[in-house]
């Protein structure tokens, strides 16, 4: 690289030169546009975050019926708003570890039953009040209370007692849990003044921004919180527009009305990426698309029938045709390499002969009924049709029943014995298994009840020795892969996109889409 290019990219990075001018001049020096763009983005990263400006994003999932109460957040827009105005005690780090947020540090007792979180010194809410340990305790109490509607309730059942001591919050558990900090990173558990008991939807927290305009399901504007303690929150203003229509969202990015969007449809992601000045970022995560059978209900309580179905699915074909390559194959376990203590197991392949063998052995006659709907995951009816074809190759007849989107989650999922669904995944094995595969779990949507599995899960939770714990999870994975009701053909990537007016994207951050929804507060406006 010659000096003139270096000089140009520095100027471009600091905003003295627009991207267009830079690419033009670099072209005059014999550089292709693509190379120039790459070079500029690395120069921008090297120059570090720029302050100020307005960052605009168009997101899917918001609705007029949403609430600002973090306990009730269920969609991407609600989560994104929480990231702007509030913070949990701790947060998932890019590498899968845990960073402090409201808590500056935390430690466990030797038996992992007592945890102490220390509230950050001098931290204030956006209304100027100081954050106390009592606020944290009240917050936990609100989400774990008897009459709560919080989505985090399931995570907090094991808490025996929460008390405060100066700036310390001491949490006593009934059973040991080495993963408690991961539970505390749940996005519902935002620390609010007085626990948010009197005004749950006031949106007062310790986040890097303060909400200024709120029009539910339409548009939100947030301004920088001048007293924010940390070094994120670079743009002065963040504007969030709810754009639920896929084509409209992509068009908004292409026409420059927003700088960042989520959920680029996999079908068109390749085309979107070709547009000048637009980067499509695919992030592998724990989310997966599944076919779930009730393992305790006929005919799916028949191990051989389940194995026939598991061998009769073509996983790679699903990744290619349903995810358009934006994903990876699954192995009938909800755990993939995005989890910290993951052990590779032998990949189950499409094998019509084995499928036919197990089907014959099962003694099942007639077709198998699968229910699906458009909203169970994008492309679910198509995936069901592919499954039908691959099973036909093994001589197994799959009958597909298309259900309406309306009421799918209440009438079909976790209700009918065999249907399509999706899981967003969780940051740790313990959470994923506890949420959906423990015998007593509320959302045990495969009705998987295995005593040995449950014992291993409880034991692993209390195990602080990493090697032993990893082995336990490997054993559990094997049990579930062979005996569970879960048929998991694919893990879907998050596909987000942003334009070149913003910089600072971090590849493969852990957690949810858009850098665990931290993209707008960690990225910055370049000019």
């Amino acid at each position: 690289m010659n000096d003139e290019l270096k000089y140009l990219s520095r100027r471009a990075a600091t905003g003295l030169l627009t991207r267009r001018e830079f690419v033009g001049r670099a072209g005059a020096l014999g550089l292709t546009a693509a190379a120039a763009t790459t070079m500029m983005s690395s120069a921008v990263m090297a120059a570090g975050p720029q302050k100020g400006g307005t960052l605009r994003m168009g997101l899917q999932g918001g609705s007029t019926t949403d609430s600002l109460d973090p306990a009730l957040a269920t969609n991407q827009v609600a989560l994104m708003l929480i990231r702007l105005w509030g913070e949990p005690l701790v947060e998932l780090a890019d590498d899968g570890g845990i960073d402090g947020k409201v808590a500056e540090s935390f430690e466990a007792s030797a038996d992992a039953k007592t945890w102490t979180f220390t509230v950050r010194q001098g931290l204030t809410f956006s209304d100027g009040q100081e954050v106390t340990a009592a606020d944290v305790a009240e917050t936990l109490d609100r989400h774990a209370g008897e009459d709560t509607k919080s989505g985090a309730l399931g995570l907090l059942r094991d808490i025996k007692d929460v008390r405060t001591d100066g700036r310390n919050v001491i949490i006593e558990l009934n059973n040991a849990n080495a993963d408690l900090p991961y539970l505390m990173a749940d996005y519902h558990l935002i620390v609010q003044p007085g626990g948010g008991k009197s005004a749950p939807d006031a949106a007062i927290g310790t986040g890097p921004y303060v909400l200024k305009e709120v029009d539910m399901g339409v548009r939100f504007v947030a301004e920088k919180n001048p007293n924010y303690w940390g070094d994120i929150g670079h743009a002065q203003t963040i504007e969030l527009i709810v754009i639920n229509d896929n084509t409209a969202r992509v068009a908004a990015l292409q026409s420059g009305q927003v700088d960042m969007i989520d959920r680029v449809p996999p079908r068109t992601a390749g085309l979107v990426a070709r547009a000048p000045g637009i980067t499509v970022a695919s992030t592998s995560g724990p989310g997966h698309y599944v076919f779930i059978a009730h393992a305790d209900t006929a005919p799916f309580d028949n191990q051989d029938l389940m194995l026939a179905l598991k061998h009769g699915i073509n996983r790679q074909e699903m990744v290619d045709k349903i995810l358009f390559g934006y994903g990876s194959v699954g192995n009938d376990s909800p755990i993939n390499s995005s989890y910290p203590m993951f052990t590779e197991t032998e990949q189950r392949e499409y094998d019509p002969e084995k499928a036919a063998h197990h089907f014959k052995k099962s003694g099942h006659s007639g077709s198998v009924l699968l229910r699906t709907s458009d909203n169970s995951f994008p492309g679910a009816p198509d995936a069901a049709a592919l499954f039908q074809q691959s099973l036909a190759g093994a001589g197994i007849e799959l009958e597909i029943k298309r259900e309406p989107n309306d009421g799918y989650w209440s009438e079909v999922w976790n209700n009918k014995p065999f249907c399509t669904s999706y899981w967003g995944g969780r940051p740790t094995q313990d959470q994923m298994y506890t949420t959906a595969y423990l015998s007593t779990a509320d959302w045990n949507d495969t009705r998987f009840k295995n005593e040995q599995f449950d014992q291993l899960l409880i034991a692993a939770r209390a195990e602080l020795d990493l090697a032993k714990r990893t082995q336990m999870y490997a054993d559990m994975g094997a049990i579930q892969r062979d005996e569970g009701g879960l048929i998991c053909p694919m893990f879907n990537d998050f596909i987000d996109a942003h334009n070149d007016k913003v910089a600072g994207w971090v590849e493969n951050a852990k957690g949810f889409a858009l850098m665990n929804s931290y993209a707008p507060v960690r990225m910055w406006v370049t000019g």
Partner: protein, 318 residues
């Protein structure tokens, strides 16, 4: 004159009765929908405890008939209740959205109605010649293509390629009128294309019908200019069917633009209704349905009344 007053009172009374019947229909419809509100609000991540708590708070354990009459009583006093899903006052929320919808419909109507009538007049003036054929071909083509396709093509050409007008038309209070008009220019253009053909064709047909009359021939023989004959002599007699079609299309602009609102991300009634339908928010769905029905019935009533006033023969039913 008392005869007209009587007719008007009759019409309005019939309209109100219709509205009442419609409210019963809407209510029955919302009850039949599968799923329940609490489950829809909490989504996939609902625990049984959370569900039970929410259901109790929302009063879903009361019988449907009792809920209906409570609500109807409220409506008669101007209280539309509170949204089950968000806890907000429905009247306030709808007021803002209805305002937005009316704003879009108003500007689409301001452009499309005169344009359609003018094009219809021109088509009659040059009937069976090229202006007539061009106007018919273009408007019929635009009504034949699904509106979302026109919208996507418009977004691609005007927003993404030319960058003349925004594709996301989220208007807000801090915008000036000029900014708002620029923002909604694309949806207004698309809506105009969608409603134009219907009104234009009806204008053309209705006037052509009148043009066969003896008095038009007389006017021609007197040597009046063709456009004057059409505008001053034929049009007033053709007004009743034209007003009918215009009102139908205006009603469509208010109640039927859900697709356009979604494609252009416009914060109107349609989007609001869709959000609440998917959450089983019965009071809101009912309120929206009632308002839509009222708009439809009201506009049709106006069309009837204009027809009666414009055509004295209708005042003396046999």
């Amino acid at each position: 004159m008392p005869l007209i007053v009587k007719l008007l009172v009759q019409r309005i009374a019939l309209g109100l009765l219709l509205l009442f019947l419609v409210s019963i229909l809407i209510f029955a419809g919302t009850i039949i929908l599968p799923g329940d509100v609490a489950q829809s609000i909490l989504g996939q991540s609902a625990t049984p405890e959370a569900l039970a708590n929410l259901r109790r708070d929302l009063g879903l354990n009361e019988p449907p008939v009792a809920r209906y009459f409570n609500w109807l009583g409220g409506v008669l006093q101007g209280d539309l209740g509170t949204s089950l899903a968000s806890g907000q006052d429905i009247a306030t929320a709808i007021g803002k959205r209805l305002g937005n919808t009316m704003f879009l419909a108003f500007w689409a109507a301001i452009i499309s109605v005169p344009l359609a009538i003018l094009l219809g007049l021109i088509a009659v003036r040059y009937r069976e010649r090229w202006p007539d054929k061009v106007i018919s071909a273009v408007t019929l083509a635009s009504i034949s293509v699904p509106e979302f396709l026109i919208a996507y093509v418009a977004i691609f050409v005007v927003s993404v390629r030319l960058r003349w007008a925004p594709s996301v038309t989220t208007i807000n209070d801090s915008m000036s009128l000029g900014e708002k008009l620029h923002t909604i220019s694309l949806p207004v253009a698309v809506l105009t294309l969608v409603v134009l053909a219907h009104m234009m064709r009806m204008t053309r047909a209705a006037i052509l019908n009148v043009m066969q009359s003896a008095y038009v021939e007389t006017a021609e023989l007197k040597g009046l200019r063709m456009f004057n004959i059409i505008w001053k002599h034929a049009f007033p007699n053709a007004v009743a069917p034209i007003v009918n079609v215009v009102m139908l299309n205006m009603a469509y602009l208010v109640v039927g633009v859900v697709v356009i609102e979604v494609v252009f991300t416009y914060p109107g009634m349609g989007q609001y209704l869709v959000d609440h339908v998917s959450k089983r928010d019965i009071p809101v769905v009912q309120a929206c349905g009632l308002i839509f029905a009222a708009v439809y019935i009201g506009l049709n009533m106006i069309a009837d009344i204009v027809s009666i006033v414009a055509n004295p023969r209708l005042r003396h039913p046999k």
